[in-house]
Amino acid sequence: LVATGVGAKTYRRIRFILIQNRAGKTRLAKWYMQFDDDEKQKLIEEVHAVVTVRDAKHTNFVEFRNFKIIYRRYAGLYFCICVDVTDNNLAYLEGIHNFVEVLNEYFHNVCELDLVFNFYKVYTVVDEMFLAGEIRETSQTKVLKQLLMLQSLE
């Protein structure tokens, strides 16, 4: 990973968000940095290898190259966010949970298949909550209201 133009200690952003299942199948990959396709594939495999070996007694944080992965497991799915080492672990950990709760509400008890069949809608949810590698909106009420409004459009 090459940190591009990120010098100041205070200015950070998400590098990528990954949702993978235990077998390593990617259910969502959202990139906030330029990578070529080979590099993306490598990152996906590396993240899977790093995260799946950890158990519930481990932290939800793991060093990853020059960055760190904040992750949380929900049933068979790993939600992973890659951020800078000095970024706020708990804020992103709860950022994941907030996102999952929105998905759960939106898909009514979300399961892995919802993410497969509605992959194009998941992107919309992500963009509502995270944009340009930053947290855009945190209010579940506001996000769901917007999503339902969009749902009603054809």
């Binding site: 992107y123 944009l131 947290i135 749902q151 459009l153």
Partner: protein, 934 residues
């Protein structure tokens, strides 16, 4: 709320996805995909125009295929067409396709930008957001060029919807990161900063990311954000858990926004305005207080959100590093977390405390938790937590607890995870050095390190222990004794053998008095390890052996026998074979004095940055944490306060590229850089160069020659063996030169023979010298010289002799120069200028303008001009700064009158030198010679 059914709206897509999922093999999947691709291709190429729905469905299928990992080489145009649909779902799929499959096709970019432009001006917030999200996701330069001017306007316009503002802020942030030159905030700055006051918390949440980024790049322009951020934070922190409704998360008001506000404040120093600062301190205190309150919920989400704010607040407190009270409170709070049942909290507390340890206000408070941290190092299940514990121990280490911490780290190393051993080793090595009061403790620690984790002891570590032992004579005896004992272990690590070989080779004599570690016992011990070692270590041991021969003559026969054995002298490894051959030869032909010189104890290493520290920094990489920042501050202590300056970097780079074979004698480049000590390497080359001139004496030595232009006596040449002194006197066109050859060694030079070859313009007569020069003796040779006509080339002196059987061959220029035959001529100003004008033909003049190589001191200049042999004429040149001289060069054939003018320019540190004489070659030659003297 209505449930979203599978593949709702696009049945074909759902069927296709089901088909793919039902494929039993990769081949079946590829087959199905190819069938679909063919179908889509035919639809796109078909005569019948596709309706929006079909287009959307097929583009979405292509996207799905791409996301499965297959290449997609068509469909881009159809996706772009979808952008101009006025149906949200069609537009959304179009934008998604573009965002995921960014295409640099310039034709398409133009079309895409066009569609984005239309959507941005549509005043339809949904469409505007789609367009903004597309820009934020792609962020290309073309997009920045097209929209960097428009987006700030959207961001601050009064009638822009809140959701659009959120997207615009982050979209602008993306463009600013990608192309900062294109995003000019200027007139918008103030209005953007005031978004911190926006009623909509979502707008603040998004805008603050933009403001933080801009502030970190231009803090002054955005500094009004500090007071706004403080008041916003204050309002959130003091609100009740339900005040913020939508933005309350598990009873915590606006946790993400709070974190972002605290993060923004870390772009700035503490507020200068007392009221703002007071309010901020109050906020921080409230956050610390809340951490002590009983939780409002048992859910982990509640405590995580609360603690996210707490940790960010502690980061700010550490960033300010000016509120002792807050720092200590932070430390106490983290201390509680050290024993929390949540692994995450223990981890984060260890990490955060690491930075607190570097603050003078909280360092002592951190130290009180040492037992807990040591316990964490021993008992934590997650290696990354243990790693943080080790980091914290390293950070809290000082003179008072160094022994305890180093001991704990050493014992942890025995069971430490492989992944962190090397770093642990480096840390132990650094701490041991940094806080070593008595160096025997240091030596013990490092040898223990090698014993426990030898595989992870990098070269830097064992190089460093040797540097320190060499530089500190109070520890050398102890080191020799300890390493000797360590080597007794039946299976000791190869790194131990290296250190042992080096130290016994240098300082084995310090323990040789004890019969249990007599020279032969030492040698046998080292040699018992020899066959188990790798080539570099064996090479090092061979060097240790030759050092033994010097230290202990009684081991000579034994060691020579070893060197002579086929396994050494015919070793298939070139390096080992060469060492064996050379060392054997050296030990048999060199006198004890030569041996003593060649194998002298290594000189002290120059003080420099510990190469270990450099390695630890390198290992940590750019994501450097504050532990290393602390190291930076304390480096002086680490290096004994020596002047390091620029050579630290050189030392570091030296250390990181060690020569392939560990090199004991410094035969290559790793030797200490002390200039005064002659490199043993070149001497060895001399001693062994049987045939032909050796490297150092090949070619003619020029340096000495030029030093004698303005003087007649001094040392012309000196090397390890020989010194040549010179004394000369000149009268008219005649000269006499005395050469003194001094044998600096205690061994006689045999077949000593000198020859002088003169250019035709000079005549000389030489008396030969005796062919034998005893050790320490000096012999004299006289050369008579007559200058027949003017000349340029100097006579060459060639000296040959044998020293210890090796032929020496030295060639030198004798310092006989045309100016030696000057007769000074005094004259008055009028005479001088009259003659100056008479010599006005171009070829009679030679001139040089050159930079001063030495100081421009008047007395020195005068002495040099007098030494040239001319008369220095006072009160002749109208400019008192200038010097003029006159003289006549006496040759047998003719006399050449010569005038000289030297014009110094002190300001520019330059000279202009002008020579005029009746003979062009003389003008030129004197000018050339003299120009080298200033």
């Amino acid at each position: 709320m209505p449930a979203v059914s599978k593949g709702d709206g696009m049945r074909g897509l759902a069927v296709f996805i089901s088909d793919i999922r039902n494929c039993k093999s990769k081949e079946a999947e590829i087959k199905r995909i190819n069938k679909e691709l063919a179908n889509i291709r035919s639809k796109f190429k078909g005569d019948k125009a596709l309706d929006g729905y079909s287009k959307k469905k097929y583009v979405c299928k292509l996207l799905f295929i791409f996301l499965l990992g297959h290449d997609i080489d068509f469909g881009h145009m159809e996706a772009v067409n979808l952008l101009s649909s006025n149906k949200y779902t069609e537009k959304q799929i179009g934008y998604l396709f573009i965002s995921v499959l960014v295409n640099s096709n310039s034709e398409l970019i133009r079309l895409i930008n066009n569609a984005i432009k239309n959507d941005l001006s549509s005043r339809n917030p949904t469409f505007m957001c789609l367009a903004l999200h597309c820009i934020a996701n792609v962020g290309s330069r073309e997009m920045a060029e097209a929209f960097a001017g428009e987006i700030p306007r959207i961001l601050v316009a009064g009638d822009t919807m809140d959701s659009v503002k959120q997207s615009a802020a982050l979209c602008l942030l993306r463009l600013y990161k990608a192309s900062p030159d294109l995003v000019l905030m200027g007139e918008w700055t103030s209005r953007v900063v005031h978004l911190l006051n926006d009623q909509h918390m979502g707008v603040v949440t998004a805008a603050i990311s933009l403001i933080t980024c801009l502030s970190s790049k231009n803090p002054d322009e955005f500094k009004t954000c500090v007071s706004l951020a403080v008041s916003r934070l204050s309002r959130i922190v003091s609100s009740a858990s339900t005040d913020l409704q939508d933005y309350t998360y598990y009873f915590v008001p606006a946790p993400w926004l709070s974190c972002k506000l605290l993060r923004l404040l870390q772009c700035y120093p503490p507020p200068e305005d007392g009221a703002v600062k007071g309010r901020l301190v109050e906020c921080l205190e409230t956050i610390l207080n809340k951490a002590q309150e009983p939780p409002k919920s048992k859910k982990v989400q509640h405590s995580n959100a609360k603690n996210a704010i707490l940790f960010e607040a502690i980061s700010l407190i550490i960033h300010y590093d000016s509120e002792p009270n807050l720092l200590v409170r932070a430390c106490n709070q983290l201390g509680q977390f050290l024993q929390h049942r949540e692994t995450n909290l223990r981890y984060l507390a260890l990490e955060s405390m690491c930075t607190l340890a570097s603050s003078e206000f909280s360092h002592e408070a951190v130290k009180t938790h040492i037992e807990t941290v040591i316990n964490a190092l021993k008992t934590e299940r997650d290696v990354s937590v243990r790693q943080r514990a080790a980091d914290l121990l390293y950070a809290m280490c000082d003179r008072s607890n160094a022994k305890q911490i180093v001991a704990e780290m050493l014992s942890y190393l025995e069971t430490a995870d492989y992944s962190i051993r090397e770093e642990m080793v480096l840390k132990v090595a650094i701490l041991a050095e940094k806080y070593a009061v008595d160096y025997s403790w240091y030596v013990d620690t490092i040898l223990n390190l090698i014993r426990i984790a030898g595989d992870y002891v990098s070269e830097e570590v064992w190089y460093r222990v040797i540097q320190i032992v060499i530089n500190r004579d109070d520890v050398q005896g102890y080191a020799a004794k300890t390493v000797f004992e360590a080597l007794q272990a039946p299976a000791c690590h190869e790194n131990m053998v290296k250190v042992g070989g080096y130290i016994l080779g240098e300082f084995g004599n310090l323990i040789a008095g004890d019969p249990r570690s007599s020279p032969l016992v030492q040698f046998n011990l080292l040699h018992s390890k020899f066959h188990l070692c790798s080539v570099p270590t064996r090479a090092l041991l061979l060097s240790a052996y030759i050092k033994f021969i010097n230290l202990f003559p009684e081991t000579k026969a034994t060691i020579q026998e070893v060197l002579r054995s086929d396994s050494q002298i015919r070793n298939s490894d070139v390096e080992l074979q060469q060492r064996a051959v050379e060392y054997l030869k050296l030990s048999s032909i060199a006198s004890t004095d030569v041996l003593a010189t060649v194998l002298e104890e290594m000189p002290p290493f120059p003080e420099r940055e510990s190469s270990i520290l450099a390695k630890l920094k390198k290992k940590k990489g750019p994501g450097a944490v504050s532990v290393e920042l602390e190291d930076g501050k304390e480096r002086g202590e680490l290096n004994g306060g020596g002047d390091r300056g620029g050579d630290a970097a050189i030392a570091a780079s030296n250390a990181s590229t060690p020569s392939p074979s560990a090199d004991l004698l410094g035969l290559r480049s790793t030797a200490p850089a002390s200039g005064a000590t002659p490199s043993a390497g070149s001497l060895l080359v001399d001693v062994f160069s049987e045939a032909g001139p050796s490297a150092t004496s090949a070619g003619v030595n020029d340096d000495g020659f030029l030093r004698f232009v303005c003087k007649n006596n001094g040392v012309l040449f000196e090397n390890q063996l020989l010194q040549i002194g010179i004394k000369s006197e000149y009268r008219q066109n005649l000269g006499r030169m005395y050469l003194f050859y001094g044998n600096k060694t205690s061994v006689q030079f045999v077949s000593f023979n000198t020859t002088v070859s003169c250019p035709g313009e000079l005549f000389r007569s030489t008396k030969t010298v005796e062919p034998l020069v005893e050790g320490g003796a000096q012999v004299q040779q006289v050369i008579n010289i007559e200058c027949l006509t003017d000349f340029i080339d100097a006579p060459l002196l060639n000296i040959k002799f044998r020293y210890g059987g090796a032929l020496q061959n030295i060639s030198l220029k004798l310092p006989v120069t045309i100016n030696k035959f000057f007769q000074p001529t005094e004259m008055a100003a009028a005479d001088f200028f009259q003659r100056w004008k008479q010599l006005s033909q171009p070829q009679q003049e030679a001139q040089k303008i050159f930079k001063a190589s030495h100081g421009m001191d008047t007395e020195v200049l005068k002495a040099k001009l007098l030494g040239l042999g001319t008369a220095l004429l006072e009160n002749v040149d109208p400019n008192p700064e200038n010097y003029v001289c006159a003289g006549v060069i006496q040759t047998k054939a003719q006399q050449v009158g010569c005038l000289l003018r030297l014009e110094p320019n002190a300001q520019a540190q330059m000279y202009r030198l002008t020579l005029r004489s009746s003979k062009d070659t003389v003008s030129q030659r004197v000018c050339d010679l003299l120009a080298e003297q200033f």
